[in-house]
């Protein structure tokens, strides 16, 4: 198997946490993985992104200009990365922050996830990233839910330990959102 993706959003939305979550989960499954964060003077409210490659074979380049998939959490990210996703690729949007009309691309699968709304129902809009992570793993099966769930603490770090149960619930809701949407046939654009 092989999957690569770019995850992008505002600093503080937990973009890098999604990347770390997928990476640790892939490690749990003995897969090869590279996680390349954007780095340097990134602040809350600025933009942040990361690139994750997961494969059953050794990974060549950790740098991907045209990803197979993307998780885009705000409008600047859509403007920057949507056009780069490969034909036939997959993009997940936080549709609470990205209006469908912002998306100009065709030739690919688009999944609009009201991640912030779902996260608020779980208990905090801070776990919207986990909703998207859940949706992504359910849609792509790049790692299992169990591996992802078991990797939450490593991904978020000790100081966010209090949020781990919310994170896990949000991850589950993301999975459920895709499952119910898929069965209703609503997701394809």
């Amino acid at each position: 198997m092989y999957q690569d993706l770019i995850i992008s959003g505002f600093g503080g939305q937990g973009v890098l946490v999604i990347g770390r979550l997928l990476s640790y989960a892939a490690m749990r499954e003995n897969k090869y993985v590279t996680f390349l964060p954007s780095y340097g003077p990134i602040m809350r409210g600025g933009t942040a992104h990361c690139t994750v490659v997961i494969s059953s074979r050794p990974i060549g380049s950790p740098i991907i200009q045209k990803p197979l998939s993307a998780i885009l959490m705000n409008v600047p990210s859509v403007l920057k990365f949507e056009g780069k996703v490969k034909h036939g690729g997959l993009v997940l949007y936080n549709s609470d922050l990205v209006d469908r009309t912002m998306s100009k691309r065709g030739n690919m699968e688009k999944v609009f996830v009201p991640a912030t709304t779902i996260a608020q129902k779980v208990g905090s809009d801070r776990v919207a990233n986990m909703v998207l992570a859940g949706a992504f793993i359910e849609r792509t099966k790049v790692v299992s839910f169990d591996s992802a769930s078991a990797s939450i603490l490593e991904a978020v770090g000790e100081r966010h330990r209090d949020f781990v149960h919310l994170d896990e619930e949000a991850l589950r809701r993301g999975v459920e959102f895709v499952r119910s949407g898929m069965s209703a046939g609503l997701k394809k654009d």
Binding site: R20, S23, M27, Y32, V33, T34, F35, L36, P37, Y39, G40, P41, G60, S61, P62, I63, I64, Q65, K66
Partner: protein, 347 residues
């Protein structure tokens, strides 16, 4: 684990208990890791007032026989050059990590490999060489950093690890080596207090030309030994390759993807990746030149290693170059395009 942290952990496991540094992106995580871990593991972390202090503290620690390390990025490494030259002149071990960023000058913080000349051709003044290691994965960064301390002591010479910000910032799984006991045995050259024995002298000042030339001869003999024993490289698909891409570090990762894709499309392409930049795998490339049509050197610079490839190949076959500068990191697709262009030129 992040590459910069993996190098720090590997250094501690190699017995390094002294780290001196000054923060600079994109390698500050290495220093942060040391700041967190060294005090817990019987070591000392010092954030000093400048890179010049840091390298001279490494020099001072090395004089006593201790395993010491510093790290920085381009601008900071430039400041360290005086100290590195002194270490080479004094024949002192020490490990210096350069996480290379876009230059020249302050440049930017994006990944680059344009410090090749500085690392490989001296950087500081005088006839000397660093041993230069170029990891291309987080695992290899850890392994080379671990071994760097042994190499530095074996040859009493500074060892530089040259990698781009991609290797330092990227997270990949790492398997670590067993932690090593700090050596109890005294090094026969270290200054440890001359009570009860003849004093030892460590210096780089030799005013008499005869004496300094003899010292230089000895250094050169040492470099010849290093060239004979320590060359390392990795290659793939060389059996039937007509075009061989030569790349190190991060560019080799990108090239690896491109080469695999080119082969799937039926092009006879191979990859040659120097792991040691000094000593450079000159002979291996020369031998290869006897049976391939062309080399394509691929670098994150305006073309620096390409000169060493040209020297190695000595005009036997054509050596072509493709590179990007200023912290721009090309995609495997871009590299593939360059490969295919060259393959088609041949036929």
């Amino acid at each position: 684990m992040r590459g910069s942290e993996a190098m720090a952990e590997a250094a501690i496991r190699a017995g390094c208990r002294l780290y001196f540094g000054y923060p600079i992106t994109p390698q500050s995580e290495l220093a942060e890791y040391m700041a967190r871990e060294l005090p817990k593991r019987g070591g000392v972390f010092l954030q000093v007032e400048s890179e010049i202090s840091a390298i001279n503290m490494v020099l001072g620690a090395a004089v006593t026989g201790a395993r010491a390390m510093t790290s920085s990025s381009g601008p900071g490494i430039s400041l360290k050059q005086e100290g590195i030259s002194y270490m080479a002149g004094c024949e002192l071990p020490g490990v210096i990590v350069n996480v290379c960023r876009g230059g020249p000058g302050l440049g930017n913080i994006a990944p680059s490999e344009a410090d090749y000349f500085q690392a490989v051709k001296g950087g500081g003044h005088g006839d000397y060489h660093n041993i230069v290691l170029a990891p291309s994965s987080v695992q290899e960064a850890a392994e080379l950093c671990y071994e760097a301390f042994d190499l530095a002591e074996r040859y009493r010479n500074p060892v530089m690890i040259l990698c781009s910000a991609v290797i330092a910032q990227m997270m990949e799984p790492v398997e670590f080596m067993p932690p090593r006991e700090q050596e109890k045995e005294e090094k026969p050259w270290a200054l440890t207090g001359a009570k009860g024995r003849e004093p030892r002298i460590i210096k780089s000042l030799r005013l008499e030309p005869e004496e300094l030339e003899e010292h230089n001869r000895e250094l050169q003999r040492k470099y010849e030994t290093i060239k004979a024993r320590e060359v390392r490289f990795e290659s793939r698909h060389l059996e039937d390759a007509r075009l061989v891409v030569v790349a190190f570090g991060t560019s080799a990762r990108i090239a690896a993807s491109a080469v695999e894709e080119a082969r799937e499309q039926g092009y006879k392409v191979g990859l040659f990746r120097p792991i040691t930049l000094f000593p450079f795998p000159k002979k291996a490339l020369r031998d290869l030149a006897e049976r391939v049509n062309k080399f394509l050197v691929f670098e994150l610079s305006a073309g620096q290693m390409v000169e060493d490839v040209e020297l190695s190949v000595a005009g036997r076959v054509e050596v072509d170059f493709y590179g990007r500068m200023g912290g721009y990191v090309p995609s495997p697709e871009e590299c593939l395009e360059e490969i295919i262009k060259r393959c088609k030129e041949r036929t």
